[in-house]
Each structure stands twice: as structure tokens, then as C-alpha cells.
């Protein structure tokens, strides 16, 4: 095979090329404008992760689709154990989100041979759930910080699922070779702030998740506590 062979084969491979999409340019312009608006809305927040995370926490608490209201616990409640009555609704909502992620939004999108799947380390860890030494699952910010927001906003997936309060929910999942499933739920608010949480079945089964460190001081307590409660509630007897 030489260069000419390659071109000939490539042209043959394109015989089934679908028709063009004349609206593609207009769609790109519209999406580009939205991205610019969100960048302007974010302003200098891109270098201040905590400042972004705080409104994002409120986004998670108030922007989940289908919910009427979710309590946001104040920072002073961080060390207080939520009552059973507070835990159960959070758990139900949290688990429902993950189920939707698996069965509704992202079924099998592509077959990937076992052994060929990307490494876990390739997942941009924006905000992750980790099991702390104390047994609690908590949040951890990743190296990507808020830089992932731009890519996310520019992607079609961000507009898939409208939620309450002008937010949109992004969900995804994958199953590793070991059978462990990773689910991701992210909420994008109209003002561009967002939060994402990556969890796995291991969250519901302590002992199989690699121990992590408790969340750092830059994590908003409200969100941290919210997810702690969701996970803690999942361990309660049904």
C-alpha cells in the first residue's frame, strides 16, 4: 500500500457518505455564542475553583430534574448526622439518578473489547467521590478543576435532559473489566456553573472502593454533606 492506494481505499470507504448538514455552521455559531456567554458569566472564576463550586453546590441541591425540593444543609451541619427522615429522600433521588444514567440516557453506545477500554486515570476527575479513611464517602476535586466546563458546555450532551430551575443533567456510565460500574452525574446550570460527581457501585458497597482522602477545605460543605448523606443513607437497612 502506498499513498495512492490509501486515497483510493478511503474514497471507496466513503461511498456510503450521508448527506451534508447545511445547518451545521449555524449550529456551531449558536453553540459558540452560548459558550462565550458562559465564559463571560464565569469570568475570573476559572482560577478560583472554590468560588465556582459554591454556586455549583446549590445547583446540585436545587437543579435535579423531577424533584420538588431538596434540603440544603448549612455548613454548620457538616458534622451532624442527618436524621433518618432526611436521609431517605436523598437516597431515593440519588439512586434514581444513577439508574436513569444507566438505563435511560446511556445504554451501550459502543462495543469495546475487553482489555481495550481506557484506563480509569483517563477520566478527568473534576469532582469525585472517594471513600475516606473514616468510612465516609466524600468529594475530591481533580486536576481538571473547572477547565472541563468549557468542553462540557460545547458538547451536545449538555442539552440532553432539561431539569428544574433551568438546569440540565448529564449522566453517563461505564463498566470496567472488573465489572465495577462507574456512574457520573453532572448538573449544569444556566449561568454556567456546574458540579459533577463520579460514583460507582463501590459507593454502595464500602470495602471495594479504594480508600481516598477526605475532601479538602475548598469543598463546599453543603454539597459534601449532601452526598455524604446520600451514601450514608444507602447503607441503612431497608
Amino acid at each position: 500500500m502506498n499513498e495512492l492506494d490509501f486515497k483510493e481505499l478511503a474514497r471507496t470507504a466513503m461511498l456510503g457518505e450521508p448527506a451534508g448538514a447545511p445547518e451545521a455552521a449555524e449550529q456551531a455559531v449558536a453553540a459558540g455564542r452560548r459558550t462565550l456567554r458562559r465564559r463571560r458569566a464565569l469570568g475570573g472564576l476559572a482560577v478560583a475553583g472554590a468560588a465556582v463550586a459554591i454556586p455549583a453546590a446549590a445547583g446540585l441541591a436545587s437543579g435535579l430534574p423531577g424533584q420538588d425540593r431538596m434540603t440544603v444543609f448549612p455548613p454548620t451541619a457538616a458534622s451532624a448526622a442527618p436524621s433518618p427522615g432526611e436521609r431517605q429522600p436523598l437516597l431515593v433521588r440519588f439512586e434514581a439518578l444513577l439508574r436513569e444514567a444507566v438505563h435511560d440516557r446511556y445504554a451501550v453506545t459502543r462495543a469495546v473489547p475487553i482489555g481495550d477500554e481506557p484506563s480509569e486515570v483517563d477520566i478527568p476527575p473534576r469532582v469525585s467521590l472517594v471513600l475516606g479513611d473514616d468510612g465516609w464517602v466524600s468529594l475530591r476535586t481533580g486536576d481538571q478543576g473547572v477547565t472541563g466546563l468549557v468542553d462540557c458546555v460545547g458538547a451536545d450532551e449538555c442539552s440532553e435532559r432539561p431539569g428544574a430551575d433551568d438546569s440540565r443533567l448529564i449522566t453517563s456510565s461505564r463498566t470496567a473489566d472488573s465489572g465495577a460500574r462507574t456512574n457520573m452525574a453532572a448538573v449544569i446550570r444556566r449561568d454556567g456553573t456546574y458540579v459533577s460527581a463520579t460514583a460507582s457501585d463501590a459507593v454502595l458497597d464500602p470495602g471495594t472502593l479504594v480508600p481516598g482522602r477526605p475532601s479538602g477545605g475548598d469543598i463546599p460543605v453543603g454539597l459534601d454533606e449532601l452526598l455524604r448523606m446520600a451514601v450514608a443513607a444507602s447503607h441503612e437497612p431497608r
Partner: protein, 170 residues
């Protein structure tokens, strides 16, 4: 940096995107092996290009767009990791857009067997006719890497397609 009114920027960008969209999609198709995924890649790249448009110097838009398509494709590995499910059994062959597997897909199948970086080098060099230096800039590797990867890539394609060629020759 160029300065635009919004209307002027949109008009110029739209004209460029409309003119280059098909060519970019073809490049993306060879990279991804799937027309729908190719459209996603191009659309994502165009959004990035729109945002960067004032910084794109006149006459370099096409190279900028091709580079962005390539980078979106290469970066897509991370996004795939969060959206794909692995399965134990993979069907033989790859379905074409019409759902059947035939000889037209041979090159696509062979390309998908290449590592993504090597695939990008081969497609840019031998489909888009970029020079070694241009390919290196688009993929983000050294010219030496482009030379070695294009050679290895072509060799791998020869091996993969060898049987098909032999049958055609007889």
C-alpha cells in the same frame, strides 16, 4: 487578534464552516470510523473554532480547523472512558452506516486497529496530504514521530488489508 462585530464574525465563520464542513467530516470519519461520531467531532471542533475565531489569523483557518478536529478526536478518548460500556463479546467486523459489513469498511476497520495517534498521523499525511511538519503540528508530536508513525501505520494497514489485496489481484 482580529476585531469583529458579532454579525461580521458570524458571517465570516459561517461561510468558512459551510465551505469546509464536508471535508472536515471526511477526515473525522477516517479518524473515528463512524459518520455520526465524525459529525460530533467536527461540531465540537467548530464550536471551539468559533470561540477562537478572532485569534485565528487570516489564511490559517483551515489548518486551525483540521488541528482542532484532530485534537478533539484525540481528546475524545477521555470522554469515551466516561460514556462507554465495555462488553465481553464484540461482534465480528464493524457495521457500516447501512448496518452491513462489506469490503467498503475494510480500510475503516484497518484504521481503527491502529492506535489513535498513529491513526491521526496516517489520515493527515495520506488523506489530507499534510507535510510531516504540518502533521506534527496538528497531532502535537515531533516530525520524527510523524515519520516513524506513518511508516508503522502504513505497514500495519498493509498487513491488515493484505489478504483483501491478494484476493483482488487474482
Amino acid at each position: 487578534m482580529r476585531t469583529f462585530t458579532r454579525r461580521g464574525r458570524d458571517k465570516e465563520f459561517s461561510a468558512f464552516a459551510a465551505a469546509r464542513w464536508l471535508a472536515l467530516r471526511r477526515t473525522a470519519f477516517l479518524l473515528t470510523g463512524d459518520w455520526h461520531e465524525a459529525e460530533d467531532v467536527v461540531q465540537t471542533a467548530l464550536v471551539k473554532l468559533y470561540v477562537a475565531w478572532p485569534r485565528v489569523r487570516a489564511g490559517t483557518a483551515e489548518a486551525y480547523a483540521r488541528t482542532t478536529v484532530t485534537r478533539v478526536f484525540l481528546d475524545g478518548r477521555r470522554k469515551r472512558s466516561a460514556t462507554e460500556l465495555s462488553v465481553a463479546d464484540v461482534p465480528d467486523g464493524r457495521p457500516t452506516p447501512t448496518g452491513s459489513v462489506d469490503a467498503r469498511g475494510d480500510l475503516v476497520v484497518a484504521l481503527r486497529a491502529l492506535p489513535r495517534g498513529q491513526r491521526a498521523v496516517v489520515v493527515l499525511r495520506y488523506w489530507d496530504d499534510l507535510s510531516v511538519e504540518q502533521t506534527a503540528a496538528a497531532v502535537g508530536v515531533s516530525p520524527g514521530t510523524v515519520k516513524s508513525q506513518s511508516s508503522k501505520g502504513l505497514q500495519a494497514l498493509r498487513e491488515h488489508l493484505g489478504r483483501h489485496y491478494a484476493e483482488e489481484a487474482t
